[in-house]
């Protein structure tokens, strides 16, 4: 078992799927869909083995694979897994699997191309969470752009061309500077050790002055902030989420946004601890602005999908607040909330997709009172919603509670404002629920709605189970984050102390001045 390159197998298994699906005739749509489900399913099952073999009591990387790739510039094929990335990988394989089942009825044209884009997307996403060489990471990072672009552009809604192009150019432009920063750091490694290297571990060992760290931090942060999306860079998200097909929205919200927050945790904090500490207040303020702004925008949306998209902006703000609280509560909460958001928002997008397939509209005012016709659907939506607004007992509560307590510990004012985001979250979600599900049926078309079928429930049940399982017993997941998070905290808390020690000489000077007086 140990000798098997299990991470590479999980990453590149979907490629095998592409090879096989390319050979079968594209006209038989259900067969192609079945093959997608089989391959995403197998990938998911194999990724579950990781939990079993994973040792939770260390902070280092496990299942490491390291091969020289372009030795002249110190690039390696370097993959590894730690407590933060393990569940993100499983979330990826899980949501891709779910998305593939949801696509049976939603994707009816060019199914074969859909299969190829979805599986390519999976390769890129898993690779992003596993790559520990910055060059390799960048390749996986960019690999996602094209399939996601095609997915929005081919199978998306009315405004898909605009949304897909915006998504592509925004993300591409944002990530280019990260590449330059990575190259710069590789040369710094060469200066300090004599050997050029793009390995994350080698770069962590660098000693960089705070003055250099800041621009590098910002170059990385721009790429990740756009993906998250951080407040002023969020404008691509509502368009992309709304226009993407259901499978695309699930993956976008569930996994792609996490790549941004993961990037902050994996690269920004350990590589630039000084800059992280220095810029944390600024980043936290932007995060809180995002929380409140996203909530207010969600409040006024007339399109359900757009509402969920804006709620993502708000929720991702919570995660960023947790990360830049830079304490154990905040970071643990942020990592857990990354998974929670993937589950709850993924589920909301699935539900929106299901109702859209029936009525071909997402406008809130087209609905009303449909709980009478679709009671099961109403229950599932209620559960997803409660998870999203962080009701105690659901997974969202644990994550947001930890984040808010972390944020509060760092800065009281920010913690208080962020908490208001929870209330607004409840307002827009419940108001939407009321308008869509409760009351009398006004529109005739809604009289003929049919409730969820077996396939649709089959997708939703595992998500419901996860919502309550994590909500009731979060310790199972939290214990895997614990060590890596503690390692991160140690890196930055040392810098907080540094600031104090820097200030101390001034204090002594002052006291000596006082003494003289």
């Amino acid at each position: 078992m140990e000798s098997l390159p299990i991470l590479s197998i999980i990453t590149f298994l979907p490629l095998l799927g592409i090879g096989i699906i390319a050979l079968i005739p594209g006209k038989n749509k259900n067969l192609v869909h079945a093959f997608i489900t089989i391959f995403t399913g197998i990938t998911f099952l194999i990724s579950l083995f990781l939990i079993n073999a994973f040792k939770a009591d260390t902070s280092g990387f496990q299942f490491i694979e390291k091969i020289n790739w372009i030795p002249s510039v110190g690039i390696q094929y370097f993959m590894g897994l730690d407590g933060i990335s393990i569940y993100l990988v499983i979330l990826t394989t899980f949501l891709t699997f779910i998305a593939s089942i949801s696509a049976y009825t939603a994707i009816e044209i060019r199914v074969k191309e859909f299969a190829i884009t979805l599986l390519f997307l999976e390769v890129g996403m898993i690779g992003v969470f596993l790559a520990l060489d910055l060059f390799l990471f960048y390749i996986f990072w960019e690999l996602i752009l094209i399939p996601m672009y095609l997915m929005i552009g081919i199978w998306g809604g009315k405004n898909r061309l605009y949304a897909s192009l915006k998504f592509f150019l925004y993300t591409l432009a944002g990530s280019t500077l990260m590449l330059l920063a990575a190259i710069y750091m590789a040369y710094q490694v060469k200066l300090q050790t004599g050997q050029m290297s793009f390995s994350l571990l080698d770069m962590q060992a660098l000693t960089l002055t705070p003055k250099i760290q800041t621009p590098l931090f910002l170059a990385f942060a721009l790429a990740f902030a756009i993906k998250v999306p951080y407040f002023p860079f969020h404008t691509w998200l509502p368009d992309a989420h709304t226009e993407a097909p259901t499978a695309g929205s699930v993956i976008l919200a569930g996994v792609l946004l996490k790549m941004g927050t993961y990037g902050f945790i994996r690269f920004n904090i350990p590589l630039f601890p000084d800059a992280t500490v220095a810029l944390a207040p600024f980043m936290s303020i932007l995060a809180v602005v995002g929380i409140v702004y996203g909530a207010f925008m969600a409040l006024v949306q007339t399109d359900v999908k757009r509402l969920v998209a804006y709620s993502s902006v708000s929720h991702m703000g919570f995660i960023m607040l947790g990360i830049f609280a830079l304490n154990e509560e905040g970071l643990n909460g942020a990592v857990l909330q990354m998974l929670n958001h993937g589950i709850s928002t993924g589920m909301l997008f699935l539900l929106v997709g299901m109702i859209y397939e029936r009525r071909h509209t997402r406008m809130i005012n087209e609905y009303g009172g449909i709980a009478k016709k679709m009671p099961i659907f109403a229950v599932y939506t209620m559960i997803a919603m409660l998870s999203s607004i962080a009701l105690p007992g659901t997974n969202g509560f644990v994550g947001e509670f930890l984040i808010l307590s972390g944020g509060f510990l760092r800065d009281h004012a920010l913690g208080i404002i962020a908490t208001s985001g929870v209330i607004f979250g409840a307002v827009y979600m419940l108001w939407m629920y009321q308008r869509v599900f409760l009351g009398k049926i006004v529109k005739k078309e809604n009289e003929e709605l049919t409730d969820l079928n077996f396939r649709e429930q089959f997708i939703l049940i595992p998500l419901v189970v996860l919502i309550f399982a994590i909500g009731v017993y979060p310790g199972y997941m939290l214990k895997t984050f614990k060590e890596p998070v503690r390692a991160l905290i140690e890196m930055t808390s040392a810098k907080f102390n540094d600031e104090n020690t820097v200030q101390k000489p001034n204090a002594t000077i002052e006291t000596s001045v006082e003494k003289k007086l």
Binding site: W69, I70, P71, S72, V73, R110, E113, F135, Y138, I139, E142, L143, L145, I146, Y149, L150, G153, I154, R160, L161, S164, L165, F168, L169, L172, A173, T176, L177, L179, L180, I183, Y184, A186, Y187
Partner: protein, 495 residues
């Protein structure tokens, strides 16, 4: 009498190493033979294509470098052979082979199957080869003129198309103008140094400094201007649009790759020898940096709104030369290897795209309007997929070779601590994605316009195009995933 001739001949053979020029001679003599064949038989178009490929293959074989560290000069130090020139010659012959394959069916469909075409192509390539292995300004001038004269005729080869003739004449006028600059520069340098040999110029500059003679400085700048003209660096690019548009597609494919690589060979060899001159002429360095920045930006701006894909690709070649120029500014050995890697990448992705375009154009170049690509993915999935890969590679998206090439370029720029230049370059690269993506949008995301009646049915692949596309595709993918051995091999280049 006979003895005298034979001793004289032996003497010539002993002092002048003809073996050194084997690829050059093969291609030049081959060009003459093809010309003679064309005179004797007007139907030799097909045979000449086969012959041209055979000649280029032979030249490729003889150009394969045997001793990487060796530098040999010959013919009174007019030409030299080293690893750098060998790599350049390999690239030229490769370009030549691919262009012959692209040209054949394209020209035949337009009834411009003039057998001399291949002879001209070989002449152009021999000119490029002489440029790459010259060690003397006179030799450079001869090389560039052999190249240019062949190109004028090639651009105007489609005598039925007025645009082609226009392209030929425009190219001729502009290029002659540039050559005049070049000659002026050479004359200035000769006047101040007393020699046209690279090494003599270098020694003079090393000994006296650059500012000692205004004529030397002016001469160098004039040469730079003339060469910038030839590779259409902005602001010397104004001839490019009409020439690239009017010339037959296969000629445009050649124009946008081969000659530019040849000129860069000269630029590297000539300007890099001054890098140890103290003090280094700052104005020269500033001008080179400015050329790189302006070229990238202007090339992008021009390509951004092109409706014609051929024209768009031609403009984007201006931008690509801008990227190479950024590496050129750094004066490092890395710059040379990354530029050579970039050229290799560019040959494959650019000629691969042009091969696909020659297929897509059928018998009318109007088919290359971006509107006519609508819905191609549904009708011709393989063609659309291949074209997408080439375009994404040109845009520098990993894991294609275009990304690796840009990575090495910007990595050399960062190593030289020119961060602002690297940032400008990489942002330009992001902008360029927009116009490459526009074609993909049309192929994949838009549905076919029924009233244009464009049903893609007459698109037929023939063996030559398939060969080009297959070679290019494999190179784009495999060298993109595993650039290691190529870049390591190229990093042995010493100038």
């Amino acid at each position: 009498m006979n003895d005298m001739i034979s001793t004289k001949l032996n003497e010539i053979l002993a002092t002048n190493n003809f073996g050194l020029l084997a690829p050059h001679l093969i291609v030049s003599i081959g060009a003459v033979i093809l010309m003679l064949v064309s005179v004797m038989s007007r139907n030799a178009f097909r045979n000449n294509a086969v012959l041209a490929i055979a000649i280029l293959c032979a030249a490729f074989y003889f150009a394969l470098p045997r001793d990487l560290a060796q530098t040999v000069t010959a013919f009174n130090s007019m030409v030299l052979k080293d690893f750098f020139s060998s790599v350049e010659i390999l690239l030229f012959t490769l370009t030549g082979i691919l262009v012959v394959l692209i040209s054949h069916n394209y020209l035949k469909k337009r009834s411009t199957d003039i057998p001399e075409y291949y002879s001209l192509l070989l002449f152009a390539i021999s000119g490029m080869m002489f440029m790459a292995s010259s060690a003397d300004l006179i030799m450079v001038y001869i090389g560039i003129e052999v190249l240019s004269v062949a190109l004028y005729v090639m651009a105007a080869i489609d005598t039925k198309d007025i645009n082609s003739t226009e392209a030929g004449i425009k190219y001729f006028l502009m290029s002659v103008f540039a050559s005049a600059f070049l000659l002026f520069g050479i004359a200035f340098i000769y006047g101040s140094v007393g020699s046209t040999s690279f090494s003599a110029i270098k020694d003079f500059a090393m000994f006296n400094g650059f500012n000692s003679s205004h004529f030397l400085y002016a001469g160098v700048l004039l040469i730079l201007a003339g060469m910038a003209f030839k590779i259409s660096l902005a602001p010397f690019h104004l001839w490019t649009p009409d020439v690239y548009q009017g010339a037959p597609l296969s000629v445009t494919a050649f124009l946008s790759t081969g000659p530019k690589i040849a000129v860069f060979a000269f630029l590297f060899r000539f300007f890099y020898q001054f890098q140890n001159v103290q003090p280094y002429p700052e104005l020269l360095q500033d001008i080179v940096v400015a050329l790189a920045v302006i070229t990238m930006i202007v090339g992008n701006l021009l390509a951004l709104n092109q409706e014609d894909v051929k024209r768009m690709l031609a403009f984007s070649s201006v931008t690509h030369m801008g990227y190479v120029m950024t590496a050129f500014t750094t004066h490092s050995t890395e710059a040379v290897s990354s530029a050579m890697f970039y050229f290799t990448a560019y040959i494959f992705m650019n000629l691969g795209s042009f091969a696909l375009l020659s297929v897509i154009s059928r018998d009318n170049d109007k088919n290359l309007n971006v509107e006519n690509f609508k819905g191609m993915a549904a009708k011709k999935p393989l063609l659309a997929f291949l074209f997408m890969i080439f375009l994404l590679s040109l845009a520098g998206i990993p894991p294609m070779i275009g990304f690796a090439a840009k990575f090495f370029i910007f990595s050399s720029v960062i190593h030289a601590h020119m961060y602002l230049l690297a940032i400008i370059g990489i942002l330009n690269s992001a902008v360029s994605a927009y116009y490459y993506l526009r074609i993909i949008v049309n192929m994949y995301l838009k549905t076919q316009n029924e009233d244009t009646g464009n049903n893609f049915k007459e698109i037929n692949f023939a063996v030559p195009e398939i060969t080009v596309v297959a070679i290019s595709f494999l190179a784009v993918i495999f060298l993109g995933l595993q650039p290691s051995f190529l870049i390591q091999w190229l990093s042995k280049i010493v100038i």
